[in-house]
């Protein structure tokens, strides 16, 4: 891989509101990929390290981090508008709210149709099951549904790219289906249909702008759950809208919470991991060949799964119960034709058509000899730092500061303890100098 391959600037949904940022160090400490530095009193997101997981949005006490998503006004750009509610959306409202109530509300807000992503999740579940049974050479396979995890693998675990199951996410399949059906039924052209994902997280917004393992997304925009929540709550008073699309069962709705994906795929040798720090821990183990006897890992960046997304409204613990009850109520008989899925799977309908490329953000230098030299310097620098990981220097911990110093992006004196040492040293020297008298006076003093 050449250095030039990384030149393209990466689009991020997670953005800083400069006016609100007070330059505190909460976000740098919480970022799982050490992608934030505080410089000149403001946080800076390092584009090549950020994975859009949204941890900083949750952590920031001043709400200075936000996710750039689309406004509902963008619906005007399209002749026919389709909402794609994430399964997690159904866990956001008060007990007793049905999926039909929510779909009705979306219709009243201005959408012409609603395609439940949970329905596509059922198709994708069957496709994944088929893939796992047909491909036994790589273990464990890792789910491709969470874009933050995909990007985490690209930047930090490039060797595990081959473990990612090359199947599109339910969001993409839902958008593809919706456009195909609307074209067939009403003759709309793809560009006349606006398909908007109602998203629990910023990473999905990024993945629509910049799909991983694919050239172009089938979606036209992403609206955050928190952004549309108020409008939905006001319109939950009916359920008489009849969609031309099928409804999902509890199987697809379950994808909204951690473990739901595995449940829908149906297997007994699967692992479900939630929370980005936990994902890192497990991926480390996969990298060391410790989990070679596991078939499939569902990795989700947010604790609790998508219901824990940074753009959700309801507490993930309450949402989890709601999703479970809703799933049980709807039952687990999917309307999706499994045989059709298997056939289309063979035709490549679900496949990610592109390659997922490594985007390693860790390398100190492209030249190996130089990188080893820098690494040695880094180890030496770390030893000289106090090891308190206080973050006052604007880097998340002493090791990260050492890395920044080696890369020429920070100085040793950025460490307040190092600075104090130097001041102390200088003060001592000044004191010594102050004691010195011209020779003429020296004898007198004695």
């Amino acid at each position: 891989m050449k250095a030039g391959d990384f030149v393209q600037q990466y689009y991020h949904s997670v953005t800083l509101d400069v006016d609100k940022c007070k330059g505190c160090t909460n976000c740098i400490k919480g970022c799982p990929t050490e992608a934030i530095r505080v410089r000149n009193g403001k946080a800076h997101i390092l584009e090549n390290k950020c994975i859009d997981c949204g941890e900083c949005i949750r952590i920031c006490p001043n709400s200075a981090k936000y996710a750039a998503t689309d406004s509902i006004s963008r619906l005007k750009e399209f002749k026919f508008k389709v909402a794609l509610p994430a399964p997690s959306l159904f866990g956001q409202f008060k007990e007793g709210t049905s999926t039909k109530n929510i779909i009705y509300a979306l219709k009243k807000i201005g959408f012409d149709e609603v395609y439940e992503v949970s329905l596509a999740a059922e198709e994708v579940s069957f496709a994944i099951r088929e893939y796992i049974s047909k491909h036994k050479d790589i273990r464990p396979l890792i789910s491709s549904s969470c874009p933050a995890v995909m990007r985490l693998i690209q930047v930090r675990f490039p060797e595990l790219i081959k473990n990612i199951i090359p199947i599109k996410s339910p969001m993409e399949i839902a958008a593809r289906r919706a456009k195909e059906i609307l074209n067939k039924e009403f003759g709309y052209k793809a560009e006349e249909i606006g398909v908007f994902f109602i998203s629990p997280c910023p990473a999905k917004a990024t993945s629509v702008r910049q799909p991983i393992g694919s050239d172009k997304s089938y979606l036209d925009g992403v609206i955050s759950i928190s952004g549309i929540f108020g409008d939905i709550v006001k319109n939950l008073d009916g359920e008489e809208f009849k969609s031309i699309f099928n409804s999902s069962s509890g199987l697809g709705i379950g994808w909204g919470r951690a473990g739901g994906e595995n449940l829908a795929i149906g297997g007994d040798n699967y692992l479900a991991v939630d929370g980005i720090h936990n994902c890192i821990e497990v991926l480390e183990e996969v990298e060391m060949n410790k989990l070679f006897d596991i078939d499939y890992i569902e990795c989700q960046a947010c604790i609790g799964g998508c219901i824990g997304g940074a753009l959700t409204v309801e507490s993930q613990y309450i949402a989890r119960v709601k999703i479970r009850r809703l799933s049980e109520k709807l039952g687990f008989n999917s309307s999706v034709d499994k045989n059709k899925v298997v056939k289309q799977f063979k035709d490549g309908y679900y496949n990610l058509e592109g390659k997922i490329l490594p985007k390693s953000s860790l390398k100190l230098d492209d030249d190996l000899v130089e990188a080893i030299r820098k690494m040695e310097l880094l180890e030496k620098t770390v030893k000289d730092l106090p090891g308190l990981d206080c973050g006052s220097c604007g880097s998340p911990n002493c090791r990260a500061l050492a890395e920044d110093i080696v890369k020429g992006q920070a100085n040793e004196e950025d460490c307040i303890f190092k600075l104090r040492d130097r001041v102390k040293h200088l003060a001592g020297e000044m004191y010594d100098l102050a004691q010195k008298l011209p020779p003429t006076m020296e004898t007198k003093e004695r």
Binding site: R156, P158, E159, E284, E287, M288, N289, K290, P358, S360, L362, K363, L364, D365, D366, L368, V369, A371, I372, R373, M375, E376, L378, E379, E403
Partner: protein
């Protein structure tokens, strides 16, 4: 002895580097095992070998060899000659076998055994050390399952930052992890030492422990002496040493009953 004299003695042909024939040669190292070549410490020596792959040139550069002579009439591929040209390492070829080559040169007086002495040439040794090799040392405690695997994990992060090829990192970290676990499971204490160079990564796992009574048996997949208590934790599947061997290019083991075990592994880049 000048390189031109060696050429004459061995009836050798210069593959590349006529302009280096005046180079003074003090000694020679004859070996077909990478580990032996790497371990050689002679000064201004010519390397005599039947190996013709790229690593030979890289190793010759690292070991400060002044020239390489291929024995048994071996001729390296074009890209290897090109690499030597870039590294300015002259290449010779002789039809004689290694044994005779060594004998002829030894007979002719090429038998100086000066080693690279750190004290006599401090700046040079320092330079070689710091410019090309990075060492990482981790202390491992026996039975410390809380920290088991941490050393391998930390070393893996370092390799990623250096930018080592991911597939190599995977092999190194698997070997390191298995070595670390072996110390935790079987020994009292030990060390994991990594030497990272632009040509290879060397990994030494040395412990003070019971030693291995039957090394050949221990290298068989599935053979384990781990107690039931350890197996219940999911370790001791008998894949440790076999995995270390499988994922490394050089694997050497030395074990003394009642004292400890030393495993040396090299993975070429």
């Amino acid at each position: 002895m000048k390189l031109s004299k060696i050429k004459e003695l061995l009836q050798a042909e210069v593959l590349w580097g006529d302009e280096f024939l005046d180079t003074e040669v003090l000694s020679a190292c004859g070996a077909d095992l990478m580990s032996d070549i790497l371990a050689d410490t002679k000064v201004s020596a010519v390397l005599l070998t039947g190996l013709t792959h790229r690593q030979i040139i890289q190793t010759a550069v690292m070991g400060d060899f002044v020239a390489v002579t291929f024995v048994r009439g071996k001729i390296p591929p074009k890209d290897v000659i090109e690499l030597a040209r870039q590294a300015k390492v002259p290449l010779l070829k002789t039809n004689l076998p290694l044994y005779e080559t060594c004998g002829i040169l030894y007979e002719a007086g090429l038998r100086q055994t000066h080693t690279k002495d750190v004290t006599s040439k401090p700046e040079r040794a320092e330079e070689v050390e710091s410019a090309q090799t990075m060492k990482l040392t981790y202390d491992i405690l026996g039975n410390d399952f809380n920290n088991a695997g941490k050393a391998a994990e930390q070393a893996k992060m370092v390799l990623k930052q250096i930018g080592i090829d991911p597939s190599v990192i995977r092999r190194v970290s698997i070997a390191a992890y298995e070595a670390e676990m072996n110390i935790v499971i079987h020994a009292h204490k030990g060390q994991l030492i990594f030497a990272i160079t632009p040509a290879y990564i060397e990994l030494i796992a040395e412990d003070q422990g019971p030693g291995i009574s039957d090394v050949q048996k221990a290298l068989e997949e599935g053979y384990s002496t781990a107690p039931a208590r350890i197996r219940e934790l999911g370790f001791g599947a008998g894949m440790g040493l076999p995995n270390m061997k499988k994922f490394t290019d050089i694997f050497e083991i030395d074990s003394v009953i009642g004292k400890g075990t030393k495993v040396r592994m090299v993975i070429n880049l």
